[in-house]
Symmetry: D3
Subunit: 241 residues, 6 copies
């Protein structure tokens, strides 16, 4: 009768990346009863012009927890230093363990050519870890998965070098998305200072509205299927309806 | 409770093109109760090494009717001369009328860079006619549509220059697809003669199995959404179950 | 001391296309003293759900004149039937004559793969006419040009299949752009009816803001140089400063 | 023991296009005993700033004959008006007949996105005619072919939008290429006048040397296989050794 | 009179990758008297759901030796841990030494964007090592080469993200290819378990038949030339005849 | 009245890479009063068939100093071993420091898919370091920048896989470019030995002339803007006039 709830793992490089790009989709999953896990690769410990690394790291973790709480999501804090996530054996194994812990049906990861290397490199690590989650002889803290999860890439900052194949209509959950992003209070002044005056909230709204324009709805988020074998047959694990 | 049945229009350049590329998907639509209309742009009147144009044209129309009958589909015979379908005002208006007559929710058309110009040019005509079906001041025999249909491209011969975004699993309807293609008896000797010895049936099976390999199923057919505005938000009008 | 004023020719398929995509740039040219000519390929005579073709054609021409008047631009009315601009010898020769009449330093034309065939086909005709404007033995009403103009493509509807190479900051002229688009009163209800509820003005603002986001300014318009020989060496004929 | 001589058909839009892009390869074919046929789509009747159309057309035909004579090639003069080659049923049928007359093993045609529409459109017509040459029910003056010829695209002006897959080393025949191009005396002043001062001979030498640089030889010409079905399995019909 | 035999080095990530993608070509080289060397980057020590790493590693090495023996090829066992081949200074130097030891005329390596990171990363290491093989001041066990070998990429799993430029007809050696793959007995149950039920042998046959369909033969393998300087001028080092 | 002088940082992998690809542009910057800094990632210590690593490294540094002196540029010698530049945390931090020391308005870096891994990997390191130069909590010897510099990619060897978006006319500074390259005396015999007989000077002239052909001038250098956020709005920081 009823649909079996999904387990959804979204992986972002910095605290607030998931809020910017996929929070509308995550809220939609949560609203229909799926389990959402948000993993953050770095601890955001350089994201400030005024705090020490320890201070800003602690602040940002709390902001991430506040945001995840709004949709009842679990937060996984991978705790790499901000700006210096590299893709190597250690981080690949870490990604495998994160995926096994989350045991997801579907993974949402960064595109591998985004503006920031933490995005691109964590996107590569997630992409490549996926196929190894089901291999028994790779030992990590959690047991190996019975089934390789389906992997989708989400949008880049300002949509550059990213052509969505499919759009999730997030008009209904856009207000939640806005609130989740607003939890990241520490980033507002800092970012608009670097990026010529638009706040993060404004940047996110422009991009969500543009993806909505392309998709024929008010607000949308765009995705692409991982194109390598075994690739997603379709997009039915996204909350499209 | 129950899904509203769809109206599906598939447009092929020659009799047997739809059978080769989308018959598995069409059979799936039909099997679940959707209405299927098969339009054929040319009358196949050169498809023979032995018959006259009139003879072979008549033979091929009957073959197309036999094939459509297997899934209870309506056949629209556009009757352009084989090899000489050109994209101009006349053929565009004809395509508009075909679409209005069929009143489809979804259109399946040729990729616009396939190996044969009849494929590519009828693919362009279908693609461009779509947006005009809803314009009241363009007058054709049938009334204008209330809603622009969603358009998908299907695969090319041997899959060249075509990267599917989404795959329809046709393992269950593959036997029907084979039978539909087999209705086109006149093409078997002729084609294997030109194309170095593989029969059409064998070519079709190889391609369907390859798309299945990519999609993780036994047999599949690949599709892409028309990438122009207003683009398909998702693929839910395909029979993805 | 002072810059020699440029002559700028922008060519759109329908009345309001130029307003949607390049009016901010045109206003910037005009504001600094360059001469702007706006050519419209079709007469917009199907752009209505209520008027006859003659009525709506007349209305739309006046709207186009009103819009051009806001920046002191000349309007060239090519008067092809809306929805049925085809690229053939007649329309190519017509484009050559339009360019010779305008005698531009720079031409702004549609991308050749936009959502509407009138856009794509008039974009092709403009692109190809350009190189012939300087050929003496091609005789049209106006004299041949001494110099082949530089050609740029402007953005597509919803930015689909278009990656800008360069952005013109139109923050300062955005209000003029809005007013120019608003002159096309007849299109508002009609379009939002077809395209799921956003008005043309809203669609335009979303897209201009998104291009601005990519370019680091409030509002921007994106362009690409014609990539064929002799190609633009740089973008200095655009109003970039 | 000995290789069977090939029949090679090269098709250019204007007198001197073949000389600029493939004369080194044609000379190589000729030198080893293959039969070379050069077809020219337009009669070059606008290629002058001083002559009438009739005068310059006659001059250019003689120049083309002089050039072909240097390698003992047959010249086919298709005689369309320069600048106005369009791709339609008439020109497609004409191309079919040219190919049947030449009965080639291999066809060399323009890339379909070159700087001049005569290039692109004759390139499309040649590409599409190829598959129809073997169809008995398409009647032209010459008999249908027994085998579809293999089709390669040659380089564009200034190499824009063209990435060679394979290179023919023309160092040994470069002097012949230079002489063939030099037969087109009428074009020298005229072209350097339009294209900012480099003579055609200099343009050709720069491009041939650049393709040679890419290929590790002194002078080369680049090619791509037609990517559609049935595609060239390899490049063995090019004079690679 | 006679052709000088070539030295051919094929590099695969795991035992059985070369058998899946290039064994038909390798068998063809061997059959005409060329020397074939097969290098395997990882030891396959995770390729089992039942054995320990040591056990399965030993089993797979023997399977690789059995396969190589069928065409008289030398096997180079690079012995990296399966799933954890990374591209760094150590593995690059290792690849340089492997190439110097093999002293090949031609190298066949993985595409750098295949489904498994061991494929992509060993493909990058091989691609980049190539140019350094001829540098005297890079010291490895074997002497530097006198000539940089020509590099080709072979196909990906399920052909995703790989468009062949050239095809080798392997119809005649397909039975040998099948036998070589069959030597990898340990992989059959294991893989079909993970990849939804098709055996490796079936997957390989589908892909070889599809590449054959594209190339107009029964079975084929597809290749691309490394596109960077100094690039292959042509494909004459592949066994095309 | 007068333009504020720019600070320009060009980063090359080996001594002589900047001379080959961007020296004409650098000379143009210098000639108009901008400050030019040339950074070289590796010390060139394998670039010889006869010297020891120490000897050739010392020779090449002096050659680089001689070249930089011709346009009054500062030289930054990063001193990584030739052939073994890897992109990791150390080299990224080094690039950040180089950029902070240079404090540039504009950075010119290698394309990330050039023929040599030192090119591609130093290109990636430069590309990614850029955005971090303005982050206060990343501590290096020099202070963080107030503004993220604009980043352009320059051409690849033989122009393979590189399509310029914009061209700098270097006809006037070409003689200086030739002299700068000629300072690298140690490379002439060595390179032509490996790359089949053309000297570096000849290779450079062919490529500069080809880019000039594309741009309609005698000699040119081609560039592309870094396409990721925040991307260059235009090309006005290049010396285009």
């Amino acid at each position: 009768m009823s649909r079996k709830p999904l387990r959804v793992l979204a992986i972002g490089a910095h605290p607030d990346d998931l809020e910017f790009q996929v929070a509308g989709t995550l809220a939609k999953y949560a609203a229909r009863g799926d389990t959402v896990i948000m993993a953050v690769a770095t601890n955001g410990d350089i994201g400030s012009a005024t705090h020490t690394m320890e201070e800003i790291g602690a602040i940002r973790k709390q902001e991430a927890l506040d945001s995840a709480a709004l949709i009842g999501a679990e937060l996984i804090w991978m705790d790499y230093h901000d700006e210096f996530f590299f893709y190597n054996e250690e981080s690949r194994r870490h990604m495998i363990e994160v995926m096994r812990h989350a045991a997801p049906d579907v993974v949402l990861g960064h595109w591998t050519n985004d503006y920031h290397p933490d995005h691109s490199l964590s996107g590569m690590a997630a992409r490549d870890a996926r196929i190894m989650t089901a291999v028994p002889l790779i030992i990590t803290a959690s047991a190996h998965l019975q089934k390789i999860p389906v992997h989708f890439f989400y949008d880049t900052l300002a949509g550059i070098d990213f052509t969505p194949e499919v759009y999730v209509d997030v008009s209904d959950t856009f207000e939640t998305k806005r609130q989740m992003l607003a939890c990241h209070k520490s980033q507002n002044a800092w970012i608009s200072d670097i990026f010529e005056g638009r706040s993060i909230a404004q940047m996110m709204e422009v991009q969500s509205a543009f993806r909505g324009l392309q998709a024929g709805v008010r607000y949308a988020e765009g995705f692409r299927a991982l194109p390598t074998f075994p690739r997603a047959r379709d997009y039915s694990l996204l909350p499209l309806e």
